[in-house]
């Protein structure tokens, strides 16, 4: 129910206004001067202030100003005589909604108050509409975001911005245990709250004089995926805020579920590839161990060369899989004891391309794929399959080119035993700048010594 405060030093006005407005269904309290009015305002809950312009101590204009500091969206109507209409105008500029001319009749009083409340409702609806529009746009973005961290950050940022919260956190269930997955803004101290909320799957609100913390579970189907917590100071979250948060939470739960499904799919693909890799190695004892050794060497070289984390991750993914394409090369060729003839070479040269294609369905391996495709390129453009040259090759690729070549030289082949170290060093020195990147070679030779 809407609450009105009538401030006027004349008892008759106070009583009359109270009677009329109570008949309209409003809850009415009165004050006989500015200070009394401000105390009542401080107690909270007032929706509309009806005040005389002239009162002892604090005049109506100042009262409106002070009251708005406590209740920013307080409606106010000022009572004035014609002589003071200029002051009424000032009040309007300060945010008063209307003025009543004394002596006012009851119709005017009723109309002014009713219209003021109507306007407020309209403005709130408009604000909600704007929020919903913004929410819709966020939803669009959320449904397009599969990468989990981006999704969580987007969700938090939107929730905080829309509700003007001070801070937020997202918790996700991992192995039945809740863990904090993202946080933004002010620190909320949640502890046991989260466990309880996640266990029940029901929203929780904790109010204190500092403000309010709400925790809204993210539920997909019947499963609780985690939850979002937000904290706000002052009067906490409004009904509109809560509704908004529920809508966001629903959308986010769906997106989160999707991202898990997507991960599972990617994981499934990756597992399949790993199986293929193991199959390849089981099939070819000479390959077995090679991928592992190449991987180790790549990572050592990467660390020595201070390769960034992204590059290291790409090597971690690509190196174990770089020969996966050989699965398409016939065993006869792979295990031939004699020297390989040109046709055999052609078949073997296809393996980087096959490797690239085999890895194509796995989205997150898009960088690793490139390494697999290019691990037989050369600095001078005479490599295969694409004839790339120095400028086209990034550091991880240059590293794997060297590491793969090293291991090939340093291990036994079907048609020859391993090369002695001196010979290996010579091979690298002879071909640095043409086949191999000089810096990587230098680093390798350092490591060998």
């Amino acid at each position: 129910m809407s609450k009105v405060l009538v401030a006027d030093d004349e008892e008759i006005i106070r009583e009359l206004a109270k009677e009329v407005l109570e008949a309209e269904g409003y809850e009415v309290i009165t004050a006989e001067d500015g200070s009394a009015a401000l105390s009542k305002i401080a107690e909270g809950g007032i929706d509309l202030l009806l005040t005389d312009i002239k009162m002892p101590e604090i005049d109506g204009l100042r009262l409106i100003r002070e009251a708005k500091k406590v209740i920013p969206d307080l409606l106010s109507i000022i009572m004035t005589g014609y002589a003071t209409i200029e002051t009424a105008r000032k009040a309007i500029r300060e945010g008063a909604y209307d003025y009543l001319l004394k002596p006012f009749n009851l119709v005017d009083l009723r109309m002014a108050v009713t219209k003021a409340f109507q306007r407020k409702r309209l403005e709130e609806e408009n604000a909600r509409l704007k929020q919903l529009t913004a929410l819709f746009e966020v939803s669009q973005k959320l449904s397009g975001t599969v990468e989990r961290d981006n999704l969580l950050n987007l969700l938090l940022r939107s929730a905080i911005a829309q509700t003007k919260a001070l801070g937020g956190e997202i918790w996700l269930i991992d192995d039945r245990k809740p863990r904090r997955a993202a946080a933004l803004g002010a620190n909320l101290n949640l502890n046991g709250v989260v466990r309880e909320a996640v266990h029940n799957g029901k929203p929780i609100s904790i109010s204190s004089k500092e403000g309010e913390v709400v925790f809204i579970p993210l539920i997909s189907g019947r499963k609780v995926l985690g939850g979002i917590a937000l904290g706000k100071d002052g009067t906490g979250f409004s009904q509109g805020d809560r509704e908004l948060l529920h809508l966001l939470a629903n959308q986010a739960a769906i997106s989160l579920e999707n991202s898990y499904l997507f991960s599972n799919l990617q994981d499934a693909y990756f597992s399949t590839i790993k199986s293929l890799s193991l199959l390849l190695e089981a099939n070819d004892p000479y390959i077995k161990g090679h991928s592992q050794r190449v991987t180790e060497l790549c990572l050592r070289l990467g660390r020595e060369l201070e390769l960034n984390e992204e590059g290291m991750e790409t090597l971690r993914q690509a190196a174990p899989l770089h020969d996966i394409g050989k699965i398409a090369v016939s065993n006869d060729i792979l295990h031939k004891r004699e020297e390989l003839n040109p046709d055999d070479w052609e078949a073997i040269k296809s393996h980087p391309i096959v490797g690239d294609e085999v890895l194509a369905p796995i989205g997150f391996l898009y960088r690793a794929r490139k390494l697999v495709r290019h691990h037989h390129e050369r600095m001078d453009g005479k490599g295969y399959p694409d004839g790339l040259s120095e400028g086209d090759l990034d550091l991880p690729t240059k590293i794997i080119i060297v590491a793969d070549a090293y291991d090939a030289m340093a291990s036994d082949r079907p048609y020859r035993k391993r090369l002695p170290n001196k010979r290996i060093i010579k091979e690298f020195r002879d071909n640095e700048g043409t086949q191999f990147d000089p810096l990587v070679v230098h680093t390798l030779l350092e490591l060998l010594n």
Partner: protein, 123 residues
């Protein structure tokens, strides 16, 4: 993409600064473009030269009788709705209504009455 809505233009003819200022403030807050003049002659000129969606005019103007203003405005090719205002009840605004004025406001008037007129005329 935003739909650009042309702001509607209101002319206020009144020799009282308080009224001009008050209407100016309130109408602007409602999203309207407001032009104010102090005399009837000037008002008629402005309506002749520029486009207005609504005119508020006091009927007790210093230079020319508000009824004359109304008649002149109604005689123009494109005449916007005219709302008459009076400072004391002498029946003039009622006469104006019968001559085609859209409505009237008795000064001093509560804002809700003004806003009700805007709702009806402009929406």
């Amino acid at each position: 993409m935003e739909r650009r809505i042309k702001r509607q233009r209101v002319l206020v003819i009144d020799d009282e600064p308080v009224i001009r200022n008050l209407l100016s403030d309130v109408l602007r807050e409602e999203g309207l473009d407001v032009v104010t003049v102090t005399g009837g002659e000037e008002g008629i000129e402005r309506v002749r030269e520029e486009e207005f969606d609504l005119v508020f005019t006091d009927i007790h103007l210093a230079d020319v009788n508000g009824i004359e203003v109304l008649k002149a405005l109604r005689g123009l090719r494109r005449c916007p709705p005219v709302v008459l205002m009076d400072s004391y009840p002498d029946g003039l605004v009622e006469r104006g209504l019968s001559l085609g004025a859209w409505g009237c406001l008795h000064k001093p008037f509560e804002l809700y009455r003004l806003r009700a007129i805007l709702e009806d005329l402009i929406g």
